[in-house]
C-alpha cells in the first residue's frame, strides 16, 4: 500500500474510464435532446436514453471522485507490457485481416492472419506457421462453404 499521488490517480484506469464514460453520458444526453422527451402518447424516444445518460454521468463522476479521494492506493499487479502487447498485437492483426476481408476475401486474409499470428505472437517456425495457416483455412473452406453452404467474404480475385 502506498499513498496515491494525484498524478498517479489521474493516470489510473479508473480515472480515465470515468472520464470516458462521463463524456459518453454527455454525448447520450446531447444526442437524445433532439428526439423528443415526451409525445402525446407518452414517453418519447429520448426518455429512456436521457435517464440512463444521467445515470451514467452521475456514476462515472462517482468513480472519478472515489479514485481521487481514495486515501491509499493498492497498485496491484503491475501491467506486464510485453504480454499485454502480445494480446494487443493479436487484436491489431485480427482487425487488419478484417479490413483486408473486403478486397482480398476470407481465404487470403484469414490465411495471412493465421500465418502472422502463429509466426509472430507464438514464435513458431515458418513451416509450422505456414502449415497451420493452410490447414486452418482449408478446414474452414471445407466445413462452411462446401459442407454447410455458408457464403464467406469473396475478394477481388473471385475467392
Amino acid at each position: 500500500m502506498e499513498a496515491l499521488p494525484i498524478k498517479n490517480a489521474l493516470r489510473s484506469g479508473d480515472f480515465i474510464s470515468g472520464v470516458v464514460l462521463t463524456a459518453l453520458g454527455i454525448f447520450i444526453i446531447v444526442e437524445s435532446s433532439g428526439w423528443g422527451y415526451s409525445s402525446p402518447d407518452g414517453p418519447g424516444p429520448a426518455f429512456f436514453p436521457f435517464w440512463y445518460g444521467v445515470g451514467m454521468i452521475v456514476l462515472s463522476l462517482a468513480l472519478i471522485g472515489s479514485t481521487l479521494l481514495r486515501p491509499t492506493f493498492n497498485a496491484g499487479k503491475p501491467i506486464d507490457w510485453p504480454m499485454t502487447g502480445r494480446a494487443l498485437g493479436t487484436w491489431a492483426a485480427f482487425a487488419l485481416s478484417i479490413a483486408l476481408m473486403a478486397p482480398l476475401g476470407f481465404i487470403i486474409s484469414f490465411t495471412l492472419f493465421t500465418f502472422l499470428f502463429v509466426l509472430i505472437i507464438f514464435r513458431q517456425p515458418v513451416l509450422t506457421a505456414a502449415l497451420t495457416a493452410m490447414f486452418c483455412t482449408l478446414g474452414f473452406e471445407i466445413i462452411f462453404p462446401w459442407a454447410l453452404g455458408l457464403q464467406l467474404p469473396v475478394g477481388i480475385f473471385g475467392f
Binding site: D41, P49, A95, A99, T114, F117, P153
Partner: protein, 503 residues
C-alpha cells in the same frame, strides 16, 4: 398440458434421431469447451448461434443447452488434472480434486465429479420440470409494471455479484442499455445513435456484441496470460475411474447438498454456478466430521461443488424459460437465440411453444445420461485435448467468430464491429469492469424500455404506477435494498468474499 403429458411430449421430440444427434453434439462440444481453459460456454454458444439460425428451434436450443450444461461436466477434468479450472464454476473443484490427483486418485476424483454431476444435473432437471409450470402460471398475472420491476430486480442482483466494484457493474449495465438503444425506436421510428451508418438502423446484432465481448476478449486475455501447465496422467480403463465404496459413502450428503444448493442458487439472477459451488463446498465442510481434511484431497470436496454447478443449470432455466429473465451470460445468449428463432421465452412459452419447452427439458434428462457416458470411460480421450497447442486452437476460435458473425449478418461492416467489441471486452477485463452486466443490459434493454414506456403510457405519465401495484413495489424495493446493501460494511465484506471466491 400437465407435467407428465408435457414430459411425454418432450421425450417424443427429444428422442427423434436428429434431436438425439444435436443433443450429443451439444454435450460433446460442451465437454470440450469445459475442458479447454480460456474458452467458456457463453463464448461458444455465441459463436455457434449464427450456424443454428436455419435449424428447427427445438433442435437448436437442445444443442445450445447441451453446450451450456456439458461445459459444467468438462470443467472438472481440467481442475483435477491441471489445477486450472476449465470454467469459473470449477474453481472450487480444484481445491480437493487436484490434491486427490496428486495422491494418485485422479481416476476416482474424475469419477466422483462425473457421478455428482449426473445426480445433481438430473435433480436440477426434475426440479425444473416441476417448478416451471407453476412459476409460469403465476407470472401470467404480471403486466408491464411487474415486468419492468422484475428486470430491474434481476439486473440489480447481477450487478451486485458480478464484480468487486458496484459502480463499475452499474456503469457496464448502462453501457449495455445504450448499446441496446442503437437503431430505430420501435414506438416512434426515430433513428437513435446510428452515427450516420445505415447498417445500424436495425440495431446492433446480438452475435457481434456477445462474440466480441466474450470470445475475442477471452482469447486475448488467454494470450496475455500465456500460462503453461503440466497435466497429471489419467488412469486408463473404466475400473480405474470408479471411486471405491468408502469414497462413495463419504459423498452421500455432498450429492444431496450440491443438488439442492445448486438448484436454489441457480434460480437467483447473478448468483450463478461459481457461487453455488463455493456455498455447497462451504456447507459440506461446515457439517463434516473432519473439516480440517478439506483441501487435502477429500472426495466430498469434489462431489459438493461439482454437484452444485450442475444443478445450477436446471435452476437457471426456470427464470429464463418462464419469465424471460436470464441470470447470466450464457442464459442471456440462449434467450437471444430463442428470440432469433421466433420463440418468446416467458409465461406463455409453455403454452405457445410446448415442443421447444418440453423438448428442451426432456433433452436434458437424455443429455445428462450422455454426459456421464462421455465423461466416465472417455475422459482419458478428452484429456488429450489439453495437449492441443494453443497456437492452433486460437486461430480456429478467431475463424469461427468471423464466420459466425458473417453468417448472421452477411456484411463485413459487422466484422469491423466485432473487432471493436473484442477490444472493448479486453479493455473491460483489464480495468475490472464486469462484462456480464453489459451483455444483460444489452439483451434486456429493449424489453425494459418497452415495459417502462408502456407502463407510463397506461398511467398517463404517473411514475407512482410502479409502486401502486404490490408485486412491482416489492420487487423494486428489493432492488433498491440490493443496490444499497454494499454501503453497509458487513454486507459488503460478505459480497466481496463471495466475489473473491468466485475467482
Amino acid at each position: 398440458m400437465d407435467v407428465l403429458s408435457g414430459l411425454a411430449h418432450g421425450f417424443s421430440v427429444a428422442l427423434q434421431l436428429n434431436n438425439l444427434g444435436w443433443c450429443f453434439l451439444g454435450c460433446f462440444l460442451g465437454t470440450v469447451v469445459g475442458i479447454l481453459p480460456g474458452l467458456g460456454p457463453a463464448a461458444t454458444i455465441a459463436m455457434l448461434i449464427p450456424l443454428t439460425l436455419k435449424m428447427d428451434p427445438a433442435s437448436g436450443i437442445i444443442m445450445l443447452a447441451g453446450i451450456y450444461y456439458g461445459a459444467k461436466y468438462g470443467g472438472s477434468t481440467t481442475s483435477i488434472l491441471l489445477n486450472i479450472p476449465g470454467e469459473s464454476s470449477s474453481v472450487a473443484t480444484c481445491i480437493d480434486g487436484y490434491q486427490m490427483a496428486r495422491k494418485g486418485r485422479a481416476g476416482a476424483a474424475l469419477g466422483i465429479a462425473a457421478i455428482a454431476s449426473f445426480i445433481a444435473g438430473t435433480f436440477g432437471v426434475v426440479a425444473l420440470s416441476l417448478m416451471a409450470p407453476p412459476v409460469a402460471a403465476f407470472a401470467l398475472s404480471f403486466n408491464s409494471q411487474e415486468y419492468f420491476a422484475l428486470m430491474v430486480l434481476g439486473l440489480a442482483l447481477v450487478v451486485l455479484l458480478s464484480g468487486e466494484s458496484l459502480l463499475k457493474g452499474l456503469l457496464a449495465l448502462l453501457v449495455g442499455l445504450w448499446l441496446a438503444s442503437i437503431g430505430t425506436d420501435l414506438f416512434s421510428a426515430q433513428a437513435r445513435f446510428i452515427f450516420g451508418q445505415s447498417e445500424l438502423l436495425g440495431g446492433l446484432d446480438f452475435t457481434v456484441v456477445a462474440i466480441g465481448v466474450f470470445a475475442i476478449a477471452e482469447v486475448m486475455a488467454s494470450i496475455e496470460d500465456g500460462e503453461e501447465s503440466q497435466i497429471l496422467p489419467v488412469p486408463k480403463g473404466i475400473l480405474n475411474l470408479l471411486p471405491n465404496w468408502q469414497e462413495l459413502k463419504a459423498c452421500r450428503f455432498a450429492f444431496f447438498n450440491g443438488s439442492v444448493v445448486g438448484f436454489i442458487l441457480g434460480v437467483l439472477p447473478g448468483a450463478g454456478a461459481t457461487i453455488a459451488s463455493f456455498v455447497s463446498y462451504g456447507l459440506e465442510k461446515a457439517v463434516s466430521r473432519h473439516p480440517e481434511k478439506f483441501g487435502t484431497g477429500v472426495p466430498e470436496g469434489v462431489a459438493a461443488p461439482e454437484g452444485a454447478n450442475n444443478a445450477d443449470t436446471g435452476g437457471a432455466l426456470v427464470p429464463l424459460l418462464t419469465l424471460g429473465i436470464p441470470n447470466g451470460a450464457s442464459t442471456a445468449i440462449m434467450l437471444s437465440a430463442l428470440v432469433l428463432w421466433g420463440v418468446r421465452p416467458g409465461p406463455m412459452m409453455i403454452q405457445e411453444s410446448p415442443t421447444v419447452f418440453w423438448g428442451l427439458v426432456a433433452s436434458m434428462y437424455i443429455g445428462n445420461a450422455m454426459l456421464i457416458i462421455l465423461n466416465l470411460p472417455l475422459v482419458p480421450l478428452f484429456a488429450q485435448i489439453l495437449r492441443l497447442p494453443v497456437h492452433m486452437l486460437f486461430p480456429l476460435i478467431f475463424g469461427v467468430s468471423m464466420v459466425g458473425v458473417y453468417a448472421a449478418t452477411g456484411n463485413v461492416f459487422n466484422l469491423g464491429l466485432l473487432s471493436l467489441f473484442g477490444l472493448l471486452g479486453f479493455v473491460m477485463r483489464k480495468l475490472k469492469f464486469p462484462a456480464t452486466p453489459l451483455l444483460l443490459g444489452f439483451v434486456l434493454g429493449d424489453s425494459m424500455e418497452q415495459a417502462l414506456r408502456q407502463s407510463l403510457m397506461m398511467s398517463q405519465g404517473d411514475p407512482l404506477t410502479f409502486v401502486e401495484r404490490p408485486m412491482s413495489a416489492i420487487m423494486l424495493a428489493l432492488a433498491v435494498i440490493i443496490l444499497i446493501s454494499p454501503l453497509l460494511g458487513r454486507l459488503n465484506r460478505a459480497r466481496l468474499r463471495a466475489i473473491t471466491e468466485n475467482g
